[in-house]
């Protein structure tokens, strides 16, 4: 499948017409009404109805797909093409149709349609109370969403930019994460907190934050990061249906990614990692936008004769150590590429987790490429240097595989 990346404001860092292959999707065509949870290794697991295994056919994407091979699979797979923000909206709309308790609240989500158009059109369809425009008061509207969730509603709280949710940190940490525990299991907090984060195109330091590292220690929450329209819709639906509080990290630069996604309803598993490209030599773990940098580097690496296995970890808390572990056992070398800061980031925790569990399988120390520990500068060139670039990934793999 071809996914065309269109960067916001075509800056020089990445060419604007790169073709990436998202090769992890295994499709199972469903009978009407049944629901599939797609696992990353292709085994479909039927969520609610184990009987309907009838008309399945698995489409597996080849490892190093050439352009014509992907064209054939596109032709034989009907679906519809859309952009990532539309995929998020589709997932959101389907869930709001399905369950009247699902509601959205955030700044400019209603009449304005969402600053990234994720909630466009929903307010006219569902009304102002269900798609609520809040004042600029992150602390209290996050608290309001959590309070509503305590009674059984399922709010989706949008932070216009993830960085703004720092103002709501108390509510997220103490109330969202901990209430289930401190009440002895009496209250569930089925909220979804979502918003765009990550380094954009010269947005400045305060609007380019990666909050995954700050939230990751909060007990009781789950964190997922979406990277393609396919997994964005699936993860959004899964997050809404989850009884736990879920923080869904989107990325500012990925909203205009186009991809063909299935017409059938599908929900992805929140705790699963995605096998983007199976390989033999080195395991590259990544998430969110860095997936695309890694895939770009992978093309260079393949040309140089390496065979990297690329896994999009997707689930930032808890880590899918099953998939990751199997990969480590196969390749014995790990490279983590992330956009988080070096200190105390997701990569740091992942390094610790892999070392603790799989030290016997490692042939080399784990290399972790992260962003620099600096506030993101405004100047384009400086901003480019704070984030991991494909050339650095290639160098790291070469060094790791010596």
């Amino acid at each position: 499948m071809a996914a065309i990346f269109q960067g916001i404001g075509a800056a020089a860092a990445l060419p604007s017409t790169e073709k990436f292959h998202s090769q992890s999707r295994r499709f199972v065509s469903a009978r009407k009404g049944s629901l599939f949870v797609v696992r990353s290794d292709g085994r479909p697991s039927l969520g609610s109805s184990p009987r309907s295994r009838g008309a399945q056919h698995l489409i597996t994407n080849a490892v190093a797909a050439k352009a014509d091979a992907s064209a054939t699979s596109t032709a034989s797979k009907p679906g519809h093409e859309l952009l990532l923000f539309e995929a998020l909206r589709e997932g959101l709309e389907e869930e709001m149709d399905r369950d009247p308790r699902v509601c959205v609240m955030g700044e400019d989500v209603g009449h304005y349609g969402g600053s990234y158009k994720v909630t466009k059109g929903l307010a006219t369809k569902y009304g102002d109370l269900r798609v609520l425009d809040t004042p600029i008061a992150e602390n209290s509207f996050t608290g309001m969403g959590i309070g509503a969730a305590m009674t059984g509603l399922r709010p989706i709280i949008e932070g216009m930019n993830m960085g703004f949710l720092l103002l709501a940190f108390n509510q997220i940490s103490n109330n969202c994460g901990m209430l289930h525990y401190t009440s002895g299991g009496q209250f569930k907090i089925p909220v979804v907190i979502r918003g765009p984060g990550g380094v954009g195109r010269q947005l400045g330091a305060e609007h380019s934050q990666r909050l995954e590292s700050y939230f990751q220690s909060i007990p009781g929450i789950q964190m997922v990061a979406c990277s393609t329209p396919y997994n964005a819709k699936g993860l959004m639906k899964a997050a809404i249906r989850s009884e736990n509080p879920v923080i869904l990290f989107e990325h500012v630069l990925l909203y205009n990614l186009k991809e063909r996604i299935p017409d059938e309803e599908y929900v992805l598993s929140l705790e699963e990692a995605e096998m983007v490209r199976p390989g033999e030599h080195v395991t590259i773990l990544t998430y969110s936008r860095m997936r695309y940098h890694v895939m770009q580097a992978a093309k260079t690496l393949v040309n140089k004769g390496y065979d990297p296995e690329v896994i999009d970890i997707r689930s930032l808390k808890p880590f899918d150590l099953y998939t990751i572990g199997n990969s480590v056992k196969k390749t014995h070398r790990v490279l983590i590429v992330e956009e988080c800061m070096r200190t105390g980031g997701i990569g740091a925790s992942l390094t610790a987790a892999i070392t603790e569990n799989f030290i016997d399988y490692l042939d080399a120390p784990i290399v972790c490429l992260s962003s620099q520990d600096v506030p993101t500068p405004y100047a384009g060139t400086l901003e480019e240097w704070t984030v991991v670039q494909p050339a650095q990934i290639v160098t790291a793999v070469e060094q790791l595989c010596q």
């Binding site: 509601c103 004042p135 209290s140 608290g143 309070g147 009674t151 509603l153 289930h180 401190t182 089925p190």
Partner: protein, 398 residues
């Protein structure tokens, strides 16, 4: 205070032969008589209400003798529980933070009398008595305070985290002011589901200076949420007197566009009237602030003696003049619903009830080590987790 005395003939119906006697001893009906349970009474509140942008309700409160006696019992129970918690804390059975509510019982009891269990209450950390008022049992209270499995939060919450979902008690929160937006959310859900119920979001005079409170007020007013903001003004935010923390200590006026009512929080009937009025108002017109003028006898918590920032004379002065239980006792006696001796009897029974509950709670077990990992998530991932040393305590996140 003014009394309505038109009910006299009802009281002494079974003893008509003795109507001529004026001495009080023989005419008292026994405390637990069921004949006159619903004798209507009208009590006047101690001081009139003061309104901000609203018409204050009348000073005359309708009640029944059963309710009056019930108030006495409930408040005495709460008082006894808090005093017992004090001694438990001093004997190190309760650890950490323990914030006691004695002196403020009238707020809890008066509020309960005006609402149903479908209405929600959310408060901060001074929550033991509100929990009792919402239907919690003494054993659950003491067990939670002592960290036992039988506690209302399975011992995992502690003093500041009492919850009772089935009677609409949403806690129990440690961070000052954070419960107010949560209360807004409860009201939002009530409006969303069109329940015709209200939420009482309680906070203190210290929390009244939190920004999130004003954010919540704005949202509640904007969306017409059925939220009632109750400021329990005990005049001290831990060690800081209200005049040192707030430029404007008229907390009921702080809502500006949100109407407010100032209530004598030591008078259970004033509280009841105000809450009933507020519920009606909130269902029709949106949020309202109630400022309960109350007082706590203990310090902020057990680690605070409570006398470094206020004089002992002040504390004993309030105890003499405004104590909520004494007020109810005087009301009962002047309405001749019971005798001194009977009331003392009730208090003695309460004392033994509390002692029994403490004994029962002391017997109950500490939580199992596996409980360390339960209720972290709702759905299990089968993730292996381990305690700090990775050997002793291991479990799977259920």
């Amino acid at each position: 205070m003014a009394l309505s005395t038109s009910f006299r003939s009802n009281l002494i119906k079974p003893l008509t032969a003795l109507t001529a006697l004026s001495s009080t001893q023989h005419l008292r009906r026994p405390f637990s008589s069921s004949v006159d349970d619903s004798t209507a009474l009208t009590i006047e509140t101690s001081v009139p209400f003061v309104g901000h942008k609203c018409e204050p309700p009348s000073r005359n409160v309708e009640t029944t003798s059963k309710e009056l006696l019930g108030f006495f019992h409930d408040m005495a129970l709460m008082r006894r529980m808090e005093i017992a918690s004090d001694s438990l804390y001093k004997s190190k059975l309760i650890r950490g933070f323990c914030h006691l509510y004695d002196g403020q019982e009238a707020v809890a009891v008066g509020m309960e009398a005006a609402i149903t269990k479908k209405d929600c209450i959310i408060t901060a950390y001074r929550d033991h008595c509100i929990y009792l008022g919402r239907g919690g049992t003494l054993v659950e209270c003491f067990s939670e305070l002592m960290g036992r499995q039988a506690g209302c939060s399975k011992g995992k919450g502690g003093s500041m985290h009492f919850y009772k979902k089935d009677s609409g008690f949403y806690g129990g929160h440690g961070i000052v002011g954070a419960q107010v937006p949560l209360g807004c959310g409860l009201a939002f859900a009530q409006k969303y589901s069109k329940d015709e119920t209200v939420t009482f979001a309680m906070y203190g005079d210290g929390a009244a200076n939190q920004g999130q409170l004003f954010e919540a007020l704005n949202m509640a007013a904007l969306l017409d949420l059925p939220a009632i903001f109750v400021c329990e003004n005990n005049h001290y935010g831990m060690g800081t007197a209200e005049w040192r923390a707030a430029k404007s200590p008229s907390y009921y006026k702080r809502g500006d566009y949100v109407p407010g009512l100032k209530v004598d929080g030591m008078d259970a009937f004033a509280v009841k009237q105000a809450c009933r009025f507020a519920k009606e108002h909130a269902l029709k017109n949106g949020p309202i602030i109630l400022e309960m003028d109350t007082y706590r006898y203990h310090g902020h918590s057990m680690s605070d003696p409570g006398s470094t920032y206020r004089t002992r004379d002040e504390i004993s002065g309030v105890r003499q003049e405004r104590d909520p239980i004494e007020r109810i006792r005087k009301l009962i006696l002047s309405h001749e619903l019971s005798t001194e001796a009977e009331l003392k009897n009730i208090e003695k029974k309460i004392r033994s009830e509390v002692d029994d509950a403490i004994a029962q709670a002391k017997e109950s077990s500490m939580p199992d080590p596996s409980e360390l990992f339960t209720n972290v998530y709702v759905k299990g991932f089968g993730i292996e987790v381990a305690g700090a040393d990775r050997k002793e305590v291991r479990g799977v996140l259920p």
